[in-house]
Symmetry: C2
Subunit: 250 residues, 2 copies
DNA sequence: CTGGCCCAGTTTGTGCACAATCTGGAGTGC
DNA sequence: GCACTCCAGATTGTGCACAAACTGGGCCAG
């Protein structure tokens, strides 16, 4: 399952051409990020360097670099001499992340309101295309696709709004809120309803930006409200993570 | 010059105790970050791995790790096979960063407004202490200290507001806006006036939160207004950096 | 039986050597 | 004289080997 061929020479991969170097790296980041987002890697999961290296067919150093990147984005927690774990946000952090999202996304909706009307065709097309994808995923009951598309929807709005810096910040927050949802969701909740997105798209396309703003705020509140932030999670890993994050008294 | 003693054993430093490992790393990050903030390392400066390794007395791998972290925070730009450079933001990016700061800091001021009054004593003390430090730096005409304290002031407000996630986001934005200021400041401008901060502290301590909000927004606008964002900067490095950032057509 | 200690195995951390790539300049043909 | 090619030096990228540290279980004393 790990390595298809028992022969070792496959391990020797001195990078024939370097064109794929940077993309291989970000490919792994995306791959792990998506696996975390759609719950294949639940919070607290140990991410052993060697296992990941085998899984992606790269060297351990590459994995180490990727883990450092993910740690910087707070998606994984790096504990010195212990290894990497899928981050397990505390209730406090979850609330903070959602508040930050409200702050950023409110700003994005304000930006969308200020865009010259009517919106350009390619923008409308992107929105409609995305809506179609979400509809399809919902009809197919493809939960993983729905989760991924839900995040992409918010990111798409940020891109359309045109501030790449805010978009980058939001990308991180979306990953982290996915983590928070994974850690605190109630049994049998439906996370991000595609219907909210549908109405939002309709409001934007129909030139009703004020309504879109209201919908977005209600949408984010609704997602957070579906979480059980009072639930006491398994504190064992939390304690270690917390103390490992601030090991320096100076 | 490279190694003080011609004898080789000094080079062998297998980390006697690991307690200082993580802190050494973040110490270098802070050190480089401050050097960039107070213009000792202007935008575009080449950061050779070996030079930094010598300067900080650590191995090249450690420096590489630090540069990766700084690159993630957009403070340095990493160009494949070319090396690391102090980031040189474009005018567009500078505007975006300042807009993002307005968004985040407006949210922080709203949070401060909602804090229960009167504010706790330790909070007031922190604000007063900081004000005293800024006054002292201004009297001493210590430009470097003023720049550093100015950033710390905004960060202090974020900490007091109590959302660590927003604080983390703002920390990055402050570093990047420092970079933007370094790249676009007009000759003979006074960056962040300590007087604005003084009035802000007074408004907060004096329980006039609405006034504080207004002051903050005006303050940020003023800082951005002092920049010459129309100036065409040297595009040679920009082109390379831009094309290196998005090398993947897929 | 309980608690502490120690040891073996596994995982992470780091220095190092070498490979790949880029830069700038000299050399050569048209 | 101009442009193109090629080479030497320097810098970055990567695999690898070994060292350090942690984990879990067995062992021994009380």
């Amino acid at each position: 399952m790990t390595t298809a061929a028992p022969a070792k020479p496959a391990r020797r991969t001195p990078v024939p051409r370097n064109a794929a170097r940077n993309s291989a790296e970000s490919r792994i980041v995306r791959s792990i990020g998506e696996a975390i987002a759609d719950r294949r890697l639940p919070p607290g999961t140990k991410l052993t360097e060697e296992s990941l290296a085998e899984a992606f067919g790269v060297s351990r150093e590459r994995v180490r670099k990727v883990l450092l990147l993910l740690a910087q984005r707070r998606v994984v927690t790096l504990i010195p001499n212990r290894g990497a774990f899928v981050a397990k946000p505390t209730a406090k952090e979850a609330r903070e992340v959602f508040e930050a999202r409200r702050v950023i996304e409110r700003a994005i909706m304000e930006r969308l309101e200020r865009l010259p009307r009517p919106l350009p065709d390619d923008m409308l097309e992107k929105l409609r295309d995305h809506g179609a994808l979400e509809d399809a995923a919902e009809r197919a009951a493809d939960r993983k696709a729905m989760i991924r598309l839900s995040g992409q929807f918010h990111l798409l709005l940020a891109e359309v709004a045109g501030n790449a810096t805010l978009t980058g910040i939001l990308a991180d927050l979306i990953d982290r809120s996915g983590l928070a949802i994974a850690a605190f969701e109630r049994r049998s909740s439906h996370t991000c309803s595609a219907d909210d997105h549908r109405r939002l798209i309709a409001a934007l396309i129909g030139n009703r930006p004020g309504e879109a703003m209201t919908l977005m705020i209600e949408h984010l509140d609704e997602v957070e409200r579906q979480l059980d932030l009072e639930a006491k999670t398994d504190t064992r890993i939390d304690l270690k993570a917390i103390f490992a994050n601030e090991p320096e008294p100076a």
